[in-house]
């Protein structure tokens, strides 16, 4: 089975695949509309003050810790 982790645990500079989003109704849609849908490739570019900064589909997005904990990812490569 593929290893799964939450986005806040990912390594800086690595690429991951979004596997699932476990937020409530409303928030899940919001995250997906930002381009983070299951199956998307996501790259972690920085992390500070509890935030994860990711690059998705050419956009840079900041997510607070609470949100990044709700996004399941698995490493690519």
């Amino acid at each position: 089975m593929m290893t799964q982790l939450t986005l806040d645990m990912g390594e800086i500079g690595r690429r991951y695949n979004v596997v699932g989003i476990n937020a409530g109704r409303g928030l899940t849609e919001k995250i997906m509309e930002m381009g983070i849908v299951p199956g998307t490739e996501i790259k972690i570019i920085s992390r500070f003050g509890g935030h994860v900064i990711v690059m998705v589909r050419g956009s840079v997005i900041a997510l607070s810790r609470g949100i990044s904990r709700k996004i399941l990812i698995s490493p690519l490569e």
Binding site: S46, G50, R57, G58, S59, I61, S64, G66, I67
Partner: protein
């Protein structure tokens, strides 16, 4: 640069050759394009029943008139913000000839998501992709052709800021409107959902939707996605029975597919967009291997980095604004080093100093001109009306400067980074980093601050913001605090500065704590709001854009607060100059005195003399109208020369004075802010709550302050 002029344009719909709506996500440069097209020939009003401002602009070319409407930003369909709802409903009503849907090469995939979202449902659309200066011309031309071919919608790449290709755009707008153009329906493949989409279209096709403007396929997809505005639009048109049928189709889809329908819809749209981009040479600009960190990103990654950056920016901006506006703290620094004369000059020649001088002069001049007229009439004109206009105008430079500072932060992309940097601290108090925007603007004026709460994540965060913003000391309150500081510590500039600093720390801390009170105790939410936010590229702000943003904030202030301040200044003049016996120049004979004396019992715990109770009471009542009015009322009713001697004439102890100042800083939102609170919450309950809430907190804090102070001072 900064060509700001309020022009009222009369728009007569019959003379208009075409109405064009502009839509797009935030940050795509929608307002820039709007301003470039209309050359500031703009009318600002409100969308009916809201405080969201509606910008309409006229383009006159070759004897033809085109009306452009700048629709509020659409971020996606599930944000459910007021802005999005307004835009969607405008488009659904269909009183336009063309919709320009704007994308952006600096954030292509995301901005095209909004483009697809709109063009999928609304057929009279022309796609415009902005910021073409970021990529080579060949690629942008090729991309336009690709979109036209694969989507069946005409696409034009432009650069609004560099004004590239604008003439061509205008030419096409004219031609498309003349030809009564409608684009083809966009066909995004929704896979498993297609079957249900067809079933819905079948039901809808019985009804007479305007098929030249609205795509049934678009309606069907958004119905499956449970978009509330589209749902109510459909419910209004179809019969009850068919509505039930539609709901059944959606339910069956959910059961049979056993998946979140919106997930299918959103991922299909993204897949469609990425497929499109990957077929073109713009892909090399979109998918970069690395993200080049700017110096701001690097600072923010350091521990404490964002805090230091934020404080640095805020401090320098406010120092600048304060100096220009009030002379503070330069005046204090100069008198500290013994250069009293220079300090006075700076103070009197600050912008607000000059403006109030001008109005004083004007009112004296009119008084001398009209000396033969009856006294009440002259008084109404000079102390009521002219003073009222003066109060509004004195605020313009201040509001403009704060807006300018904010516009620079916003346009450069620094503001979003500050929101991210502050999130952790703010979330301890029940706010997200988004509170940074309204908080920052509120230091200038609470009115636009309350309006900026629209950026909040949901209605609960928004309510907490709205109720906490009025604790932030605005510039009007700074003026009051400065006068008290001067009266209390005359000749001791260091203490003056410390008192001002304390006022700011207190206001900001209480505003943050208020977030905790509202979110945890009133709304009973256990968790702080989260933050998910786009980080736009950092770039040098464009003077043009910054000028437009700041001028539009200033105009909003003028429209909203200006009228209220003006009317109430006149009202206050009446109650201080009329009493049960008619016109009077004696304050103790006026209605104002009677109203003010109701406050006296509340001043008991501060050992304040009964005779000055009504004066303080009325001053606070006037402060409710506009905070700086506290001073003018005190000056008038004590018959003093200036505010500082008015304060001194009350003969209060230092502890009493600081306590009263503390109360004055926190006690109620001013009327202009209150009217915006009502417009934004649409609830008398919360508006009333806001007054009682602030009064109680202010009273408690003041009691604590007083009883702490009398331990140390007299």
């Amino acid at each position: 640069m900064l060509r700001g002029k309020v022009k009222t344009i009369e728009i007569n719909r019959e003379e208009i050759d075409g109405v064009i709506a502009l839509v797009g996500a935030t940050n795509v440069g929608k307002s820039t394009l709007f301003n470039v097209l209309t050359r500031q020939n703009v009318k600002v009003s409100n969308w009916p029943g809201t405080t969201v401002s509606k910008h309409e602009g006229l383009l006159e070319i070759d004897g033809e008139k085109y009306l452009f409407i700048d629709l509020p930003g659409i971020h996606g369909y599930y944000g459910l913000t007021l802005d999005e709802s307004i835009s969607k409903n405008y488009l659904l009503e269909g009183s336009y000839d063309l919709v320009i849907v704007i994308g952006d090469y600096s954030d292509l995939v995301r901005s095209l998501y909004t483009v697809i979202l709109v063009s999928e449902t609304f057929l009279k659309n022309l796609i415009v992709i902005n910021k073409s200066d970021l990529i080579d011309q060949k690629s942008s031309q090729e991309f336009d052709e690709l979109i036209s071919k694969r989507l069946g919608v005409e696409s034009i790449s432009i650069s609004a800021i560099k004004e590239n290709n604008i003439d061509h755009l205008i030419k096409r707008i004219k031609t498309l409107i003349k030809n009564k153009y409608s684009a083809h329906e966009i066909y995004v493949n929704y896979g498993d959902l297609e079957k249900y989409i067809q079933n819905i279209i079948e039901v809808l096709s019985k009804y007479s939707f305007d098929r030249s403007k609205i795509s049934l396929r678009g309606l069907a997809v958004n119905f499956l996605a449970e978009d509330p505005d589209i749902e109510s639009f459909i419910a209004k048109t179809v019969s009850k029975e068919d509505h039930r049928k539609l709901l059944e189709i959606r339910l069956t889809a959910k059961k049979e597919l056993n998946r979140d329908l919106t997930e299918i819809i959103i991922s299909s749209r993204y897949a469609f967009i990425e497929d499109l981009i990957k077929r073109s040479s713009v892909a090399k600009y979109v998918y970069k291997e690395t993200y080049e960190k700017t110096w701001i990103d690097k600072i923010m990654e350091k521990p404490m980095g964002s805090a230091i950056l934020l404080l640095g920016i805020l401090f320098s901006l406010f120092l600048l604004i304060f100096i220009i506006n009030t002379g503070f703290p330069l005046n204090i620094i100069f008198s500290l080093i013994g250069l009293e004369d220079i300090a006075t000059v700076i103070e009197e020649n600050s912008l607000s100093g000059l403006l109030s001088k001008a109005f004083e002069y004007l009112s004296d001049y009119i008084k001398s001109l009209m000396s033969s007229y009856p006294e009440p009439l002259v008084g109404l004109l000079t102390d009521g009306i002219i003073a009222g206009v003066g109060a509004v105008i004195a605020f313009i430079p201040l509001i403009y400067l704060v807006s300018l500072g904010f516009a620079i932060l916003e346009d450069s992309g620094v503001a979003t980074r500050l929101a991210v940097g502050l999130h952790k601290t703010f979330s301890r108090f029940g706010f997200s980093g988004r509170y940074a925007y309204p908080m920052f603007v509120s230091l200038g004026c609470n009115v636009p601050g309350v309006m900026l709460s629209r950026g909040a994540f949901d209605s609960r965060e928004r309510l907490a913001q709205i109720l906490s913003i009025p604790f932030i000391p605005c510039q009007a309150r700074l003026i009051v605090a400065l006068a008290v500081a001067q009266a209390l510590f005359s000749g001791e500039p260091l203490y003056q500065a410390l008192l001002i600093l304390w006022i700011y720390i207190l206001g900001i801390m209480i505003s943050l704590i208020s977030g905790f009170i509202i979110r945890r105790l009133v709304l009973k939410e256990r968790y702080s709001p989260e933050l998910i936010i786009d980080l736009p590229r950092i770039h040098r702000p464009y003077a043009k854009v910054v000028g437009w943003i700041s001028w539009s904030y200033t105009k909003e202030f003028l429209i909203r607060a200006g009228v209220v301040i003006f009317i109430l200044s006149i009202f206050i003049w009446f109650i201080t100059n009329f009493g049960p016996e008619g016109y009077t120049t004696e304050f103790s004979q006026s209605y104002g005195y009677i109203i003010g004396s109701y406050v006296t019992p509340f001043l008991k715990p501060f050992n304040i003399n009964n005779s000055i109770g009504p004066i303080i009471g009325l001053a606070f009542l006037q402060g409710f109208v506009a905070k700086e009015g506290l001073l003018s009322t005190l000056t008038i009713i004590t018959g003093s020369e200036d505010p500082v001697s008015a304060i001194n004439s009350l003969q209060l102890t230092a502890s009493q004075m600081i306590s009263i100042l503390t109360f004055g800083m926190l006690y109620v939102p001013c009327l202009a802010t209150l009217s915006v609170i009502y417009q934004e919450t649409r609830s008398w309950r919360w508006t009333l709550f806001s007054i009682i809430y602030m009064l109680s907190i202010a009273y408690i804090v003041t009691l604590i302050t007083y009883h702490t102070l009398i331990i140390f001072m007299r």
